[in-house]
Symmetry: C2
């Protein structure tokens, strides 16, 4: 469970200032992006399970209050107030695995302003990494053309929490498994593994290493064949498996010209009667490289994908913002230089190939994407489990327009702003300018 | 404490295959980079406290063993063996905050091979994020010219663990504080905060919001002045503070032409007698932008730095590798396509402006950078605390050659390979080629 101290100090100082000023009106904050990142035609919303857990269980422990006391920033009666603080409001959110675009709220918090403000940092922290990676992994899924995908990124994700969320987000967006054992345990994701170069080199010869690994996992071993000479390695793997009379589940190519190597390896394996043996490719992969390999007709059955996906290296952050959109009955917007946003509580209606962003009270054709998930501080219905969310996400990805799935070309998607919302925007804009 | 299941599955399957093959010789693995990332002239080693904690406390709980059992990959007697497994070897490492370059081991593990192998993923996961951000933050520190620096990145770091390590690594490499309250609590880093646009907009007017915040923090409020019109905001802040008879600790500029705005703001503040009031700038900052602002002579006292540093956006990963370098008395190296590494246990000697990488048994002038930190599974001396490590890191950064501190130009640093190590490399290369 996340500590409520995993937050920016100003969320707490503002909380105090709100309370001290008697500012306890209900307010609404929405989480959204103003623009898509440069290399993304769409994003995938993810991370909701952690957000809901955090909000439902929000409270300050004695130790946490003691630390805040030590800062000498807050009076004692405020710390007593914090000790009793729970979230009492409502949260609306898109479904886990939903696709979203610019100007579309993915989540809205409605609560006394000091509560809604307090949630900002933790919600953003958790949704950011999970959506970032789900959005990256979705691109890998759409170019892999049904080939199996495994997340191998744990060693270079940004820490342990990212390692867990990367495994989760990759699986959500179409991967088949992860090497991260703890993610396997916590999320029931299939765990996948081969063998490392170090194991091969720890033995006097490649042959001896292959024997040792096949003895340990006679039916399940995927042998790494590129430690010395790749094609010699393939032949050796075949020879050893034949001599031992065991099945060769797969071989892994981690370097060199994998397109050519996989073609020759496939031939060698087929000729030897190992038609069931899979060819797994890894090493510096991302959607760009996988697309090349697939287009070159390489007979690859599965990709092991690491660092570049686990860090979303071509676009390592999403500019999510969590903005105040309403206080009491007053819609709010901020208009600083070049940064446009729309005021008021909103809903997104998904139609065929286009979305409408409208005020929450409006009715439009299409599927409303935001739904109530927390009311009076408690979840109103169970969240989908990961397999259900994955199914929903893949359904969304599979019906995406082909141009949106292009990984190297920008393609626009229509996000229309409803007339009423445009009018409200214009009205507030005028008022701000006149002030 | 990290779970031993926060690892790649193959570390466990290899562990089993090692043990089943009676392969329990002592081996040495070293953690290093083959090349510096494109935008980095040096890197900063960090993350050791987590590595040491993990290694000293390594054990599998009943719940973890039960999960492994459920995978149906491992026989029961092996799971019993795992239950009793502890780390019994040695770890050498560079000091926290040390500067390092290509081909230099930052850490070496010497232990029965199955133990040393098992540590790979967790060590890399923890050292990677911490060193990644320390290396980025160091660049910010060296261009900021003594101006104060605060980490404001928590909302967009890659998850909670990254949020903690970013705050830690930024402080290690010269930042003065963080907005992350939990990092303040856990690491005793000074916590820093201002106020958000939402607070200003929650009130009927900017003036009312300023009053509310100054009432709550009369001596410590930093007012955000760019919600509506920045210079009007500055004047309003001055007016309100004067009327209330309170000190204005600082103002924050988060948008617009901050070079010009800060100059005018400074003038307004000085004329009003608020010479002590600090000007804090934030918004999309990184070392490139900060260098521009500083060079333009903007009277900025402090920078609030977020996303681009907290994700190391221009270089979001480091290609750390953890390679087997010795088994028993046999030095090891791998020579796959284009990937060079040096065999055997090594030491790094730092001389004036150059390093020598040599075999561990060699003697060379200069300061040896790797030191024994864990022996027989237990730490041999206390690690420096964060403040001590920070002092050491800043000492290192301050004496870096000026060309290495250039953030836009590649500058080479001499990493010499000792003669003996070159000879060993050549000998193994010959043997591998002849095979």
């Amino acid at each position: 469970m996340l500590s409520p101290l995993l937050t920016d100090l100003y969320e707490l100082t503002m909380l105090y200032a709100y309370v001290k000023s008697g500012k306890t009106e209900e307010a609404a904050f929405e989480l959204f992006i103003r623009e898509l990142p440069e290399n993304r035609n769409y994003l995938v919303f993810a991370g909701l399970p952690w957000v809901v857990d955090f909000i439902e269980n929000l409270h300050f422990s004695k130790e946490e209050i003691d630390y805040l006391h030590s800062l000498k920033l807050f009076p004692d009666d405020f710390l007593d107030f914090l000790r009793e603080l729970r979230f009492t409001g409502r949260v609306y959110a898109m479904r886990e695995g939903e696709i979203f675009f610019q100007n579309e709220p993915v989540l809205r918090v409605e609560a006394p302003i000091y509560q809604a403000q307090l949630l900002e940092t933790a919600i953003m922290n958790q949704v950011h990494i999970t959506s970032l990676i789900a959005s990256k992994a979705a691109r890998v899924y759409t170019v892999a053309g049904g080939r199996k995908l495994a997340d191998f990124s744990l060693r270079r994700t940004h820490g342990a929490d990212a390692g867990m969320k990367v495994a989760y987000a990759c699986y959500l967006a179409g991967f088949d498994g992860t090497s991260n054992v703890l993610a396997g345990k916590e999320f029931r994701i299939p765990v996948i593994g081969t063998v490392a170069h170090s194991f091969i080199m720890a033995f006097e010869s490649e042959e001896e290493a292959f024997r040792a690994y096949l003895r340990a996992f006679p039916e399940r071993a995927v042998l790494l064949v590129d430690t010395y000479d790749t094609l010699e390695g393939v032949k050796r793997a075949i020879k050893v498996a034949k001599e031992m009379g065991v099945k060769l589940k797969g071989i892994r190519l981690d370097s060199g010209n994998v397109v050519e190597l996989s073609k020759v390896a496939r031939k060698l394996l087929d000729e030897a009667g190992f038609k069931e043996c899979k060819i797994i490719v890894s090493g510096g992969l991302d959607e760009y490289r996988i697309e090349e390999i697939v287009k070159a007709g390489a007979p690859v059955d599965a990709f092991g994908v690491g660092t570049k996906v686990g860090t979303s290296a071509d676009s390592p952050y999403i500019d999510f913002v969590y903005k105040l959109v309403q206080v009491g009955n007053r819609p709010i917007m901020k208009t600083s230089t070049g940064k446009k946003m729309y005021p008021g509580k909103k809903q997104v209606f998904r139609q065929e190939g286009r979305d409408i962003v409208a005020l929450a009270e409006e009715e439009h054709p299409g599927k409303p994407l935001l739904e109530l998930i927390i009311d009076k501080g408690k979840r109103v219905k169970p969240l989908p489990n990961l397999n259900e969310a994955r199914e929903y996400c893949l359904e969304n990805l599979n019906k995406l327009a082909p141009e949106l799935k292009e990984i190297r070309k920008r393609a626009p998607y229509t996000v229309e702003i409803s007339e009423k919302l445009q009018e409200l925007y214009a009205k507030l804009k005028r008022e701000l300018t006149e002030e």
